[in-house]
Symmetry: D3
Subunit: 227 residues, 6 copies
Amino acid sequence: MFELGIVKRNIVRADRAAADQLARFGASTVHEAMGRVGLMKPYMRPIYAGARISGTAVTVLLHPGDNWMMHVVAEQIQAGDIVVAAITADCTDGYFGDLLATSFQARGARGLIIDAGCRDVKDLTEMGFPVWSKAISSKGTIKATIGSVNIPVVCAGALVNPGDVIVADDDGVVVVPAALAVKTAEAASAREANEGDKRAKLASGVLGLDMYKMREPLEKAGLRYID
Amino acid sequence: MFELGIVKRNIVRADRAAADQLARFGASTVHEAMGRVGLMKPYMRPIYAGARISGTAVTVLLHPGDNWMMHVVAEQIQAGDIVVAAITADCTDGYFGDLLATSFQARGARGLIIDAGCRDVKDLTEMGFPVWSKAISSKGTIKATIGSVNIPVVCAGALVNPGDVIVADDDGVVVVPAALAVKTAEAASAREANEGDKRAKLASGVLGLDMYKMREPLEKAGLRYID
Amino acid sequence: MFELGIVKRNIVRADRAAADQLARFGASTVHEAMGRVGLMKPYMRPIYAGARISGTAVTVLLHPGDNWMMHVVAEQIQAGDIVVAAITADCTDGYFGDLLATSFQARGARGLIIDAGCRDVKDLTEMGFPVWSKAISSKGTIKATIGSVNIPVVCAGALVNPGDVIVADDDGVVVVPAALAVKTAEAASAREANEGDKRAKLASGVLGLDMYKMREPLEKAGLRYID
Amino acid sequence: MFELGIVKRNIVRADRAAADQLARFGASTVHEAMGRVGLMKPYMRPIYAGARISGTAVTVLLHPGDNWMMHVVAEQIQAGDIVVAAITADCTDGYFGDLLATSFQARGARGLIIDAGCRDVKDLTEMGFPVWSKAISSKGTIKATIGSVNIPVVCAGALVNPGDVIVADDDGVVVVPAALAVKTAEAASAREANEGDKRAKLASGVLGLDMYKMREPLEKAGLRYID
Amino acid sequence: MFELGIVKRNIVRADRAAADQLARFGASTVHEAMGRVGLMKPYMRPIYAGARISGTAVTVLLHPGDNWMMHVVAEQIQAGDIVVAAITADCTDGYFGDLLATSFQARGARGLIIDAGCRDVKDLTEMGFPVWSKAISSKGTIKATIGSVNIPVVCAGALVNPGDVIVADDDGVVVVPAALAVKTAEAASAREANEGDKRAKLASGVLGLDMYKMREPLEKAGLRYID
Amino acid sequence: MFELGIVKRNIVRADRAAADQLARFGASTVHEAMGRVGLMKPYMRPIYAGARISGTAVTVLLHPGDNWMMHVVAEQIQAGDIVVAAITADCTDGYFGDLLATSFQARGARGLIIDAGCRDVKDLTEMGFPVWSKAISSKGTIKATIGSVNIPVVCAGALVNPGDVIVADDDGVVVVPAALAVKTAEAASAREANEGDKRAKLASGVLGLDMYKMREPLEKAGLRYID
């Protein structure tokens, strides 16, 4: 694990239908369906609002200030993938811009998740290539040190194995282990169906206190009403 | 103060006309009119740009990772209120999403100010329900511990008493004590009238140096011009 | 250097054509053309997305919570300038709002770079007066202490001499020393021409690995492919 | 509340015996005894390790970069007091050094809690005058703007009324409302007695699982042991 | 992976001799010997200076503000273990104090690594029970939600599998996968032997430039000396 | 300026006596004597408490994660120098440890100021070689890219020219331009003499209100005493 200098070519991707379907529910519903695990740190923000994607992860481990392996990972991208880039130490440099995005997009990538900086935000926005990053920075990088591709990585506090499903939107980035993708899609779908009913009731003025039958447990917990 | 497990039902809300009117001036002008006190920390940011609201505060004190009391505070909302949520320790969890927003909106709330995280940003944006928060996070919360409703709280560094006026826009969130609402609205109105004149002069090229008669005090303070 | 209480009236501005032209390339390309120096810290963010400006710097050194010198610097602005404001200690106060912006715009300023807070974001957005700042805050400032105008300042970690060229967009803020403006514009222009070719190739599916002939050096560095 | 330009001379201090006694238990035990409210943000750190104090609060509200009111509050100090300094906006300047500490100590103050910066750390350490602050900085302050003394303030996220008890040690700073001081001292004393027994059992190898009878509720909550 | 509600009792611990020996080299040398991977984020700091430990990891995954599982993990501790606690979301609460430390120490634990807050620092320092944490806070926690014990966790950005070796000192916290413990101890030992020679030469005034034969590659890289 | 790949051998160092003498006053007094300019950001902290040094700056500009130039700057150190290291982008890597410290100390350096990370803290503490840094990290660096030595650099927000005087202690790091060293030493000396008198008065119970004759200006500013 974390071995440097390795490119794994054959990875087992999560079930394609489940990976594609998860975008529909969004990061928050999927995170709930997962049991509230697998979320990247909230410092990961989209470079523009409104994007919502899901796809299978190809991973890359980079060194601070060095984006050489970005070109190596590009070759491993298949249609429907999302690149997940981890760095061996904190760095805000702009590892990724419009040229790499052109290449990633041509290979079929749906977006990039990077625990570092991104640049060419104006171009990427116009291209419609979404990136979730921890910084935006003009600072470019060098190409001097090798890392690895398609090894397990820790990105923004979350463990990502190659082939896992990534779900990303305005709320953040969630990782669904490949083996749980189908089950999670089902659970998310069930949650969503259930939420429609609740939403209608709440919109009509019914209180969550009553809908969820919370009055009794709150009283037991000691809640007192005063005037 | 800060007593846990209490819901105060009858609170004295600030003068309704003043509470409604303050939105017109915006957070910065109101903050000036207040004498530069009552501002929440600048880490409080709107989840989407352009919203500008004012209203009367109903307050809720929550525990980290626990949003149970959000359902309790919902029942105390009246039309024209803004919910102000404080947490007993730092937390970025997503306490609030589209279901609670549907309920709050149905009860007449104009927005939420929360010293923690928010989620379902895309839905909230489409609903037009503005939230000012310190984070955006998919991380949901549990319902295990009781807090309090309508007690004085400290939210993002500012003391908020139930019934106080909240003014929030792209510049931040300001708290106007209920007893000062009318006076503050008058002062803000006077400031604004005054600003129109100044703006026209400055737009015509008149310098603040001359308009505010600053040249003499600057010289006295020791300012020297060199070539 | 860093002398307080001085306003330098005659500064040597960078070549006008080069200063104007650099906006076309954007901060990231200019930063590359400079050899990756001169970038302000990435915490400097535009108050609205999409602005891209370049111009000659007039500088001002302010004290925490005191914007008196903003009125002094206004008089030194010429058409095509960008004001660069440094503070002698960390501060997030809102030093700058719509009145000062009206004055700066009337004097011909193209924008403001400030290592502190800004306010009246809604108004500034409507006026189309871009600001890059480290915070947004309603907190106003006093006018009690003198600083200096058109001395060398350190703004967000970058040294700015009066007359230097500033390039700012969604990616950040770059400083180009006046003496290097023409050369940098040429280098940026060359980079951009070069990038067009690359972009087309990458869009057609050619890999950077092949386009940049990286396969051999990667192998020499020890990169291994496994299945 | 938060009125500027006021010095309140007569404040009601908490019960002296309780205020003095609370230091014995330390911030964490007192915080528990309070029901887990009243804690300042954890960014408040002691300038040297090992100090543990309690005392009655005299409060001061300062402006960013301006410590004029520190001299005003000095006069209001009585033996056994702790000065609590809040700032109207974020600031890391060094408001307090060895001269003010000499004066505070001569007046009988036991320490300073300041939501800003402190300096002369070496001298303060040698004097044995403890300070809890959010920063250490050589940056001095001016004396230009008035604030207030002995009004309610929000310091590092906690509401402090003049006369409240402050308990501070390596773990942080806790505020005990004056009216709760005696009750809190009793509760803390009971907790501590209780802890001695527990400590002995745990030291002998008894598990908390058994001592607190947690095995059954954990099993009910769904905990499963696997090999 | 990341399954909730599971306690794994039988884990394969790293080679004991290697796990014990690694403390001797310290975190930085071990990190180098590992090829510069496996380091936790530098925000992890010891609660007191000078501790240096190594041992085998038992892991625990906790929820924000909830330390129930700390009592569950205590039972799984064997002599020579170090507890590694990860949280499912950012939290600075004080999960751990002197009572738990008494229990952990009685079970043979050498220390705690926790990606959250710690309290009772004074007591822990006197007990000589070292903790590396991201915060110090009096804020206690509840016991309401189950997590897991001895599953793989991400702690402060590093993946930790139960049984891995942890090395922690003033420089930070490094994770050595169990399978690499012996090899890493050998590599660290070799590095250290090698460093003794270098240190003596450098102390005598020999320059690294000459000792490492850097003058030629620096010249090739374009370094120019000017007067 | 900021030219890469240059080593300037002959620099004009500040007056030796003044450079040596400034340590006696400490960073805060020197900062005051300078007129409150030249202070590095307060995130720069000493790796151990109690050190207080002054000396002449030799500067080095490094790239993120690359400490190659540390060996180049070592050769330029003369007795009484302090090395000031700036980085072209934010980085917390541990650029400096006990081997480099041995070399620097052998060359006569009094300490290191680095706007990045440091490691081997235990060894450096035992050696008595003080470092002020923004982080402590085991993460080592590579030797791949050249920077520059003895050019003007921006370190932690302060401009440092080679030959300037650095004063560093527990309060922070101050830069005194070489040309102002003598004058600043005189001003600091005067301040200190003056402070002795004040300290004695304050210790005897005299209030700053009276000693500085503040009562009248405070009253004029509107301060009101109430009971």
